[in-house]
């Protein structure tokens, strides 16, 4: 089984348990897999970050979980458990109910995720009326409470505002309010702070942390920024060319990254305390189906040697860590 070993004792029952998940282009011959052998586990209140460059399969993995892939892609999985129940084979109707009630999304661009011709209030109450069957007045009262909860000042006035009348930070808060409307157990956030300034980003991250504490929300956070990962804590999955290449508790991974790709990503991060590696990572992420055999990173890896052409598995290293690199050493 490829499920990464859990860092914490398996006290809390998992909300989500996934193994052997692949995303492929429907009907492609030869088969073309964009995500391969993805696995993760999330319990209430936990945070899991997905990190990697553009085109590594982070967003596709997250979209595949609740069945939100575009029609030309298909998902297969060994195991896809939600609260212990297999949801891999659910019909669209049931999946929609799951998404409405249990799993919510926040996307990167607050402006393009909101409908420009509807007021914020209409967009939040729409969700409540559809999934919760609330009446007009009750939905409005709930929307007001949600905006207040996510720290929108003067929420009664904002209900009547259109998206363009709000600042970027307020728009992202409104989107988070919308995502929370049906009290989800899992929030999937896809680069929600990438379009924001650093100080707004810090505010949104603090808000998410507070919501997690208050609501016991599980958070799946997609980002390419290790600075953000560091603030989120929890666990990290590093993805490269459609595969999870490293899985570890965040603090341990930042302290001693095990996979050469993780190390290269960390070394190229612009930092205040020193100059970063000027080279970044040479080359670019291979297109699907173009990755070399064996380790997919070996073309760009400074440590590559003959053995790297052999198939690589996500190998447990102890202390809740695993890496898809035969050169990675087990931690004490």
């Amino acid at each position: 089984m490829n499920a990464p070993p859990s860092a914490t004792p398996p006290a809390a029952a998992a909300l989500l348990e996934v193994s052997g998940l692949s995303v492929a282009i429907r009907g492609a011959r030869p088969p073309l897999r964009l995500v391969e052998d993805f696995a993760c586990r999330l319990a209430p209140g936990q945070t899991l970050s997905l990190v990697g460059e553009s085109g590594c399969g982070k967003s596709l993995s997250a979209l595949a979980l609740p069945g939100l892939l575009p029609p030309d892609l298909e998902r297969t999985s060994e195991r896809l458990l939600w609260r212990g129940r297999e949801i891999g084979g659910l019909a669209e109707r049931e999946r929609r109910r799951l998404r409405g009630a249990e799993i919510a999304f926040v996307f990167q661009e607050p402006l393009s995720s909101l409908n420009p011709v509807l007021t914020i209030g209409t967009q939040i109450t729409e969700v409540l009326r559809a999934h919760r069957r609330l009446g007009r007045a009750a939905a409005r009262a709930r929307a007001l409470a949600l905006l207040a909860e996510v720290g929108v000042p003067a929420p009664a006035e904002r209900l009547g505002a259109y998206p363009h009348e709000l600042s970027g930070g307020l728009r992202q808060r409104a989107l988070i309010a919308m995502a929370l409307a049906c009290d989800p157990a899992l929030l999937i956030a896809d680069e929600p702070t990438t379009a924001l300034d650093v100080s707004l980003q810090a505010q949104v991250l603090a808000l998410l942390a507070e919501l997690q504490r208050r609501r016991g929300l599980a958070l799946l956070f997609i980002t390419h920024d290790f600075g953000v990962v560091s603030q989120l804590g929890g666990r990290v999955l590093v993805m490269y060319a459609g595969e999870v290449v490293e899985s570890a508790p965040t603090a341990a991974l930042l302290e001693a990254p095990a996979h050469p790709y993780t190390r290269a990503l960390l070394a190229s991060l612009p930092r205040l305390d020193r100059k970063c590696e000027a080279t970044g990572i040479p080359g670019s992420v291979p297109a699907p189906g173009r990755a070399p055999a064996g380790c997919r990173f070996r073309d760009r890896c400074g440590l590559a040697r003959a053995g790297c052409g052999e198939p690589q598995i996500l190998r447990p290293l102890g202390a809740g860590r695993a890496a898809r690199c035969w050169l990675a050493e087990a931690s004490a």
Partner: protein, 271 residues
């Protein structure tokens, strides 16, 4: 406050004095994007402008390029006052000061080949034609680390980092003395950001190019700037040599900006 206090001795390549730009508000009050900005940039210097959305950084860049006419104050480039130039003179001057944009996805014409994009400035300014233009385009692509063999490809066939290299090659085509780069790496993966920043630094070292780089991310500016000026609501609140400014920020706003930069292993919340 002036950002010119620490300018290198000798004639500045770019000199801004008391720059003011207001945009008339619709019905309501006008917006003051720039409220009296002074700035000196020496030849061969890399200067960073830090600040958040709406602080006036981009308006500043547009005034420097002569795309926006300031309401008061002056922009002098190589001793010439931009306001005193007629259209033709301004156009000639623009060859010497070029822009690199934030988003390499939207700032390249998707219908043109890399060669056409990079060579457009040479054509517009009548600097080279035919085989000579092709030869210079190939040299430009090579200079920014792209394979000249890819010159016929369209932007969508390039990665984000390669597209930003095309944007830089386009800016270099007419032999500028100053590049103004507005958030040149914020749309790129970290693995590529470092390469683009290194390229800008390399161009300065090898060719003495001056760079004015605008970013909301102090960690990015830290990588290559000699000096940083921090902008807030249309004014500089603090400026100084990079190391000194980051080590001991004096203004509360600079301190707040620094505190907001995510650090590895810092302030992680329990999850």
């Amino acid at each position: 406050m002036s950002a010119g206090g620490t300018a290198a001795p000798g004639a500045a390549l770019l000199e801004l004095r008391g720059l003011v730009k207001r945009f008339p508000g619709r019905g309501r009050s006008a917006v003051s994007a720039l409220r009296g900005v002074d700035l000196d940039l020496a030849a061969g210097e890399i200067l960073g402008i830090a600040g958040e959305s709406g602080c006036g950084k981009t308006t500043l860049a547009r005034c420097i390029l002569g795309l926006e006419r300031p309401d008061a104050g002056s922009v002098r480039f190589a001793g010439q006052d931009l306001a005193a130039l007629d259209r033709r003179a301004l156009r000639r001057l623009r060859r010497r000061l070029q822009m690199v944009f934030q988003d390499p996805y939207s700032s390249l014409n998707p219908r043109l080949s890399a060669a056409a994009i990079v060579g457009e400035g040479l054509a517009v300014h009548g600097l080279a034609r035919g085989a000579e233009r092709a030869r210079r385009v190939a040299a430009l692509l090579e200079r920014v680390g792209l394979d000249p063999g890819t010159a016929d490809r369209r932007p969508r066939e390039f990665s984000g980092g390669q597209r930003q290299r095309i944007g830089i090659a386009r800016a270099l085509a007419c032999g500028p003395e100053l590049l103004v780069a507005d958030e040149p790496v914020s749309a790129l993966d970290v693995s590529v950001q470092a390469q683009i920043l290194a390229l800008l630094e390399d161009l300065r070292r090898r060719e003495g190019l001056s760079v004015l780089i605008i970013s909301h991310d102090l960690a990015v500016l830290r990588q290559l700037c000699d000096r940083i000026a921090v902008m807030r609501q249309g004014e500089f609140v603090e400026s100084g040599p990079t190391a000194a400014l980051l080590a001991a920020p004096r203004h509360a706003y600079t301190q707040a900006l620094l505190a907001a930069v995510p650090r590895l292993g810092g302030a992680a919340n329990p999850a």
